[in-house]
């Protein structure tokens, strides 16, 4: 296959992210806002579109939308309103969605995050509230409609077309997700559909500022799919342009909507834009506008929880974590909060961070668990790190203790160490000396080699001592003793 000069082109991507807010009840219906229950058990007359039912706005959803707007330093509209968006589909209880088309609650704003080590800022165009559709479940000879999700509160966040690579796309989306988690506005659970991404993708020669026709890929629910989609769509479009130099962009890229298919890991054509519905937006007459006071907005601003980027800055400047570690830690709020809890009992943030994000997370991943799901108390991890710092145990022993903690999550590391004599450190010279003497006596050639200048021989001798002490001796102490003796 011919290799095309993709590097001379750049993708122009705008993302529309739909985030389900974690309110107790739905946006306009007081039915439960919950995932995973039996079909049609979380419904009311409003979210099943019964005649005579009327929407009533959930104030908590408004609050979360305002929190989001303030978190991305956007403009929060003191006056915004709802509109009806008409289209026929079985998952729509009324065959119109209530959304905010003309006057959204949030406009502007930006998100700053790391993209492969480099700090970048992405502009947001707007964010608004709207209600979700139900779910259509597909079977061979029929489809079933479940309205549990119908009416769930969504905030749709629309970026400017300022994203120019697959990594930028996933970094931006990930940063939006982190903000929603830190605000406690959503559980951000992408497998359950709490966060869905639609991408609008076009390409252009690098350096140009034109905007060529674009294609929409809908409903991606993982960051890796998003990256794949951007990558493959970009290549497809570039190939079309390069193979057909005399055709216009409008001819080559007709507007269309694709659906991301999980099985084939590719974008499947859904419909051409020409055939798409005329949505006939007009103001929703059943709802009052959202009228907010400056006081209300200021109050929310003053009570915003700590946001991901603020926490990142605090970790780097106050806790002296490396930018890489800090960026890694803030991505998963649950884990980051765990770190915060453990920090209350620790004086070594760097080590703590390492043990949480790498050592323990690595071990638990094999079991499909996290520190939180596996219920290892933060205090225990803090204690482990503390013991390493105070030379109560060696780093090597600590790894074994960690294994034991994972096997028995309720056990305190201090208890584990007490119960297992093998874990107690051997630092007493008196205990180590005889073993050193034993090894030295058994390996005269190594001593001679070391004296002849081979450093490796020393390491060998230290290793032999470590083996006999089953790792309990402090390598530094063993080293010192051997050197003294030879």
């Amino acid at each position: 296959m011919k290799k095309l000069p993709y590097e001379l082109w750049e993708p122009v991507v705008g993302l529309e992210i739909h985030v389900q807010l974690n309110t107790k009840s739905k946006l306009f219906s007081s039915a439960p806002n919950r995932f995973g229950d039996e079909p049609n058990t979380n419904i009311s007359v409003v979210c099943t579109g019964q005649p005579g039912a009327l929407p009533v706005l959930n104030k908590e959803a408004v609050k979360k939308a305002v929190q989001f707007g303030l978190a991305v330093k956007a403009n929060v509209a003191l006056f915004s309103k709802f509109d009806r968006k008409s289209y026929f589909y079985p998952d729509s209880p009324r065959n119109f969605q209530i959304t905010q088309f003309e006057r959204p609650i949030v406009t502007g704003g930006s998100v700053t995050t790391f993209v492969e080590g480099e700090l970048k800022t992405f502009q947001i165009n707007r964010a608004h509230l709207e209600d979700d559709a139900g779910m259509l479940k597909h079977f061979t000879n029929f489809a079933g409609v479940d309205y549990n999700r119908a009416g769930a509160p969504l905030i749709e966040i629309v970026s400017e077309p300022c994203i120019h690579s697959p990594k930028e796309a996933s970094a931006y989306a990930s940063a939006i997700r982190a903000i929603m988690l830190y605000l406690n506005a959503s559980d951000g659970n992408m497998e359950e559909g709490s966060l869905r991404i639609d991408a609008n993708i076009s390409v252009r020669p690098k350096g140009s500022t034109e905007l060529r026709p674009r294609v929409e890929i809908k409903n991606m629910n993982s960051f890796s799919f998003l990256e794949m989609a951007v990558e493959s769509e970009m290549k497809r479009q570039v190939a079309l342009y390069l193979d057909n130099p005399h055709r216009t962009p409008e001819e080559l890229i007709p507007p269309g909507t694709y659906r991301w298919d999980i099985e084939t890991k590719s974008a499947l054509f859904m419909r051409a834009k020409e055939n798409s519905d005329d949505y006939r937006y007009f103001p929703e007459p059943d709802l009052a506008p959202i009228v907010l006071s400056q006081e209300y907005v200021d109050d929310i601003r003053n009570t915003l929880p700590e946001l991901p980027h603020d926490r990142y800055n605090r970790y780097v400047s106050d806790l002296n974590l490396s930018p890489y570690s800090a960026a890694l830690l803030i991505q998963e709020k649950e884990l980051c909060d765990y770190f915060e809890a453990a920090m209350k009992h620790s004086l070594n943030p760097r080590q703590l961070c390492n043990w949480i994000t790498i050592e323990f997370t690595g071990r638990l991943k094999e079991r499909g668990q996290t520190l939180i799901s596996h219920k290892i108390p933060p205090l225990h991890v803090a204690k482990l790190v503390h013991m390493i710092d105070n030379n109560v145990i060696t780093g090597r022993i600590a790894k074994q203790v960690a294994d034991d903690m994972v096997a028995s999550p309720e056990l305190d590391p201090e208890t584990i160490i007490q119960q297992n004599p093998d874990y107690r450190p051997l630092s007493e010279i008196a205990e180590i000396e005889p073993i050193v003497d034993q090894i030295l006596a058994a390996n005269p050639q190594s001593i001679a080699d070391y004296k002849a200048g081979r450093e490796k021989a020393l390491a060998f001798l230290v290793g032999q001592v470590m083996k006999l002490t089953r790792g309990k001796a402090s390598p530094a102490v063993v080293n010192e003793l051997i050197l003294k003796k030879i």
Partner: protein, 117 residues
Amino acid sequence: MTYLALDVILTGYLWMIMSKFNEKTLENLKKLCRIDCTPEEDKDILHSLGRVLEYVELLKEVDTTGVASCNYVLQSMLKNLMREDEIKDLLPREQFLSNAPDQIGGMIRVPPVIKGS
């Protein structure tokens, strides 16, 4: 020409290009609102709608320059009416399904649909 007259003239121009409500318009309309009709109904509807659309052209003589859209008929509506985030007034599934034309496994049954279309 004053700005006042501009609005009237502009709307008048739009009316001119649109006043042709014909069979094709009707066919598109039927697709948009998902209603099928008999040929007899088509004829009657075409005639009636034509009459009404011709009548409402009356509005183009009204000068609405600078006039705001009436989105809320009562000024007193221009304030919030929101509810607490509480779960209540659930519709029991059996009651919901008792009015359903076709159901299966607790869901409303419909013919198979091409995914995402």
